[in-house]
């Protein structure tokens, strides 16, 4: 049955669609200008070719898969088939399998054309990259800025890659310079970076002492003034916060003199000592006195932030002491924790052109040498740059790679905001094993936002042809599910209605996630559509010998029942959730950009396609059995 369906497609000369598809692919890609062809043209060409293939698969699924069975029924061919010892399930499954084979054959033809076009395009891009390299070399701020374009000029743009994710990081700390003495156990923060020292007040008698007549907080920290600057008081911000509360120094409510003062701004003497009075939560707010948060807030923390650029503060265990009204003291035994500024999930890395400066450290645990492949290995960083510095200042950053034996290699580069910055690793320097990466922003008054998962190693992903074939296979899986939907629909209705049903299925499944964002709209829409479908189904399911009035009552009864059920079980749960997101089967933008599709992902796609197709075949068989021809 599958071969007959396949041959039927060949006899109908559906292959003529291949040439327009390839032409569309080439024209569509060439007519879309790109901002930077060296980096964007080949991913765009791959994306266009996959899009054209997906459209072709959709056309076959919607128009041809729904045509085959109704045509055979109309021409009475199906009557002779069903009289053979062939079950309804075999007929439907055979149709789906045949359609799947046809889709595969057509996609293979288009893929050959697409691949040839991509290879030609890649060779022109490689030449363009070589030309551009000559033009931009004198404009590059640092040699590492040319890494990406050099890689394309040398090896061409068809270089698939895969990622090795970071094992730990980013850990933000202060680089005080090589000449500074190490101080074991001391936590350091840098002024004007948002870094803070946090002491835990858990287990301390702070609440009892404050309610019994007041207490004072004594801080003794190490102050290292900025290089070449005289020792002077350091403005700091000290707050007592409920544990887990994020520090918002710019919150206007904190400056409201009517609300309890949970913080003070004071000057830290060059000796690093400060005395801060503490008061009960209900005490009148007084400038320079911290009101403790209410009892219900739970455990408390002390946070200290410095406001002098280049000034380093350090503290270790025993640096914070509580003193009550009678002179009794309690030394907070735990060492403070140094934290960094965060903006949602981003860790902020402040820039400074001179030491001391903030650095972010990432660690890759034992990268297998065999995984590196033959191609270039680079570190990809997705910066989120906040340009606090004037736009005329060119941002600069430094990256330091450290091997397991302690040998280091540093590179300067210009970070870019709107696309990933890739810094390539020298193969002679590192060829697998553990790797520490230290990142610093060298532009004063600038900040880099780092998302933990945006830093990763980009490694050779093997031959391009293999990855492209995987992408095409995923389009084929998408086409197979659509074909199954088309065949299932055509078992019960005519060709034209089948087209509508298959198109509706495609729209519903493709827009599932999008529709889930608008529950009220989606529910209303699907409610209406469900009612419509129920009425239509009811009409088809009712017996012909019933009178119109009886038929109407029966259809209305079913419609009302479904209406109520839909509302009772929430329409989104009943209609949208069980529906598979079949567009997930299609390769995403990352595949077009060159990221390798893993075999695990391919396996999942196969499993989803098999499950969806099987369900549709079972459903189609059930519908087909209801017809007189197969009954």
């Amino acid at each position: 049955m599958a071969l007959i369906t396949f041959r039927q497609g060949i006899r109908m000369r559906l292959w003529v669609l291949v040439l327009p598809a390839v032409a569309l692919l080439v024209l569509g890609d060439l007519s879309a200008p790109r901002f930077d062809p060296v980096f964007e043209a080949v991913p765009a060409a791959i994306g266009t070719s996959l899009l054209v293939m997906a459209v072709l698969a959709a056309i076959l699924g919607i128009f041809f898969a729904t045509y085959s069975l109704p045509a055979e029924l109309e021409s009475k061919v199906a009557f002779s088939v069903v009289t053979k010892p062939v079950s309804a399930a075999e007929i439907v499954a055979g149709k789906v399998l045949g359609m799947s084979l046809l889709v595969l054959a057509m996609l293979a033809l288009v893929a050959i054309g697409g691949y040839a076009y991509i290879v030609v395009r890649a060779s022109t891009i490689q030449s363009l990259a070589a030309e551009r390299l000559g033009e931009v070399t004198h404009r590059a701020a640092f040699p590492a800025d040319l890494n990406a374009i050099e890689a394309i000029a040398r090896r061409g743009p068809l270089q698939p890659y895969r990622y090795f994710t970071v094992s730990s990081g980013p850990d933000i700390f202060v680089d005080r310079g090589p000449d500074k003495a190490a101080a074991p156990g001391t936590q350091w923060i840098l002024g004007e970076t948002g870094m803070r020292l946090v002491w835990s007040l858990e287990g301390s008698p702070v609440r009892q002492w404050v309610s019994a007549g007041g207490a004072r907080l004594r801080l003794r920290v190490v102050v290292e003034p900025p290089p070449d600057a005289p020792a002077s008081p350091t403005p700091v911000f000290v707050a007592v916060l409920p544990r887990g509360t994020e520090l918002h120094m710019n919150d206007p409510s904190m400056e409201d003199p009517r609300s309890p003062m949970g913080h003070v701004r004071c000057d830290l003497a060059p000796s690093g000592e400060a005395w801060i009075p503490l008061a009960p939560p209900d005490a009148p707010p007084t400038q320079g006195v911290i009101n403790l948060p209410p009892e219900a807030a739970g455990d408390l923390d002390i946070a200290l932030v410095a406001f002098k650029a280049g000034c380093v503060l350090g503290a270790k265990a025993g640096s914070a002491t509580l003193v009550n009204a009678s002179g009794q003291s309690y030394v907070i035994p735990m060492a403070p924790v140094a934290g960094s500024a965060k903006d949602r999930r981003r860790v902020m890395l402040a820039g400074r052109s001179t030491l001391p400066r903030q650095v972010a450290e990432f660690r890759f645990d034992d990268v297998p040498a065999g995984d590196l492949g033959e191609g270039d290995t680079g570190l990809e960083i997705g910066f989120s740059l906040d340009a606090w510095a004037p736009p005329s200042v060119q941002a600069a950053a430094e990256i330091t790679f450290t091997r397991s034996d302690g040998r280091q290699q540093s590179l300067l580069f210009s970070p870019e905001a709107r696309r990933s910055t890739v810094v390539y690793l020298d193969r002679d320097f590192w060829h697998g094993g553990p790797l520490d990466v230290r990142l610093a922003c060298l532009t004063s008054d600038d900040h880099m936002g780092l998302l933990p998962e945006s830093v990763r190693l980009r490694m050779d992903g093997g031959p391009f042809l293999l990855n492209y074939a995987k992408s095409v296979l995923r389009v084929w899986l998408f086409g197979t599910v659509l074909a199954a939907a088309g065949v299932a629909a055509s078992t019960r209705v005519s060709w034209f209605v089948g087209i509508l049903v298959a198109a509706f299925f495609l729209l519903l499944a493709a827009g599932r996630d999008w529709l889930m964002q608008f529950p009220s709209f989606a529910e209303t829409l699907f409610l209406l559509l469900t009612v419509f479908l129920v009425i239509a189904m009811g009409y088809f399911l009712t017996r012909k010998r019933l009178r119109w009035g009886q038929r109407l009552i029966r259809v209305a009864g079913v419609a009302v029942l479904c209406f109520l059920l839909s509302w009772l079980f929430a329409l989104r749960l009943t209609v949208l959730h069980p529906l598979p997101e079949i567009t997930w089967l299609l390769p995403g933008d990352t595949a077009s950009a060159g990221q390798v599709i893993s075999f695990g992902e391919m396996g999942l796609a196969f499993a989803l396609a098999v499950v969806c197709s099987t369900v549709l075949v079972v459903f189609g068989t059930w519908l087909f059995k209801g017809r007189e021809v197969a009954a």
């Binding site: 007959i4 369906t5 041959r7 039927q8 006899r11 109908m12 000369r13 003529v16 024209l27 007519s31 879309a32 200008p33 790109r34 901002f35 930077d36 964007e40 765009a44 045509a71 055979e72 109309e74 021409s75 009475k76 061919v77 002779s80 088939v81 931009v136 404009r139 910066f383 740059l385 340009a387 004037p390 736009p391 005329s392 060119q394 941002a395 210009s414 970070p415 870019e416 905001a417 709107r418």
Partner: protein, 375 residues
């Protein structure tokens, strides 16, 4: 009986398929073949007639001479100003426009929504492609070109970090607008926007020193001079076709070209100042040959600056005279006269400087010189 031994009905349906396919192919060929002459000989003359352009060819030819053939024609040789050039490369876009028929509207709306969404999410990978598609389908609307170019040149460029990438986005905006100008040669809005990009973005942004340098490398001239040409072209088109800017009043729109000349003269004066200072530095370092060469270069730039100030002064004078008899605010007219006077004074000051300047007295004379700022 197997399915491939289909009966006459199956054969009939296959032939139906073939007929439908033939119809589709035939229709596509017909539309493609018909679209170019239809647009060139039917749509465009109608559009021009509707816009009120009834000049005879000889009159148009004489008007074209006022623009200069090469500049008036944009990127292609075209003798008649005002008529959009339709090249063979426009065929796919034109065919698509006609083929879409009534679906063009919804498709364009979808394109606009998608492009705006991508811009909001700061995804710039396909933005240029989206804008080009929109402009292809709505090429007759100057506002479409201006709006999208504004996004490219101002909103998108600033989100990039390196100055080179920012500059490349601004260049894309300028190229995009030039394409818009080719399709809408009447549009003063497009010409003004081009002038604005060269003057305000490439000439006066915070990163302008880099942009000006890059623009000179790419186009061989100061961006202020290019901006002046576009603004001037806009003035002439406004006078010829009666079209006007939507955002600026006529006197203000006309004054933009004069401003560009003032900026241009200031830029030349800055360059002259920097060259003379470099000459003095070389002299202090004992590099006499370099110092003399730089002095000669400074003199050449001084001559250019004097000419530019004179040009700017004349432009402001023409601007003031042009609107003397029109009902415009008196203070505006006063400003134009003041600019004319100031430009004249700057030029005279440099002429005096030039008359007394020798290589020997440069250190002494240089102290009297002030580096002007482009404001």
């Amino acid at each position: 009986m197997s399915l491939h031994h289909a009966g006459p009905d199956a054969t009939h349906s296959r032939s139906e398929w073939r007929t439908v396919l033939l119809y589709i192919v035939g229709l596509a060929i017909l539309v493609s073949a018909g679209v170019y002459p239809l647009r060139r000989y039917v749509v465009e003359p109608r559009r021009e007639a509707l816009m009120g352009h009834h000049e005879d060819p000889a009159r148009r030819l004489s008007e074209a001479s006022q623009f200069g053939f090469d500049t008036a024609a944009g990127s292609s040789v075209r003798l008649v100003p005002g008529a959009p050039t339709l090249e063979l490369e426009d065929l796919p876009g034109e065919a698509l426009t006609l083929i879409l028929g009534g679906f063009r509207g919804p498709y364009v709306v979808w394109l606009w929504m998608s492009a705006e969404e991508q811009k909001q999410h700061k995804i710039h990978l396909d933005l240029l492609s989206w804008y080009t598609k929109i402009a292809t389908l709505q090429s007759d609307y100057p506002q479409v070109w201006v709006f999208n170019a504004w996004n490219l040149g101002w909103n998108v460029s600033v989100q990039w970090q390196s100055q080179e990438q920012k500059y490349q986005w601004i260049r894309r905006a300028a190229d995009y607008l030039k394409e818009g100008y080719r399709k809408n040669p009447h549009s003063t809005e497009i010409m003004e926007e081009l002038g604005r990009i060269y003057s305000e973005k490439l000439g006066r942004a915070q990163e302008a020193p880099y942009y000006r340098q890059r623009a000179k490398e790419d186009e061989g001239r100061s961006p202020f001079l290019i901006a002046y040409e576009w603004y001037d072209r806009s003035r002439k088109a406004s006078a010829l076709y009666g079209t006007s800017s939507h955002s600026l009043s006529r006197p203000v729109a006309y004054s933009m070209a004069c401003h560009c000349l003032t900026y241009y003269a200031t830029e030349l004066t800055q360059q002259m100042y920097d060259t003379f200072r470099a000459s003095l530095d070389s002299r202090k370092a004992g590099r006499e040959a370099d110092a003399r060469r730089e002095f000669q270069e400074g003199l050449r730039q001084l001559e250019q600056a004097i000419g530019a100030w004179d040009w700017a002064s004349r432009e402001w004078n023409v601007q003031a005279s042009r609107f003397e008899n029109e009902r415009i605010p008196a203070d505006l007219l006063e400003v134009y006269r003041r600019f004319h006077h100031e430009a004249g004074e700057e030029g005279k000051g440099l002429q005096t400087f030039r008359a007394q300047l020798t290589y020997e007295n440069l250190p002494e004379r240089f102290t009297q010189l002030k580096r002007p700022e482009i404001q």
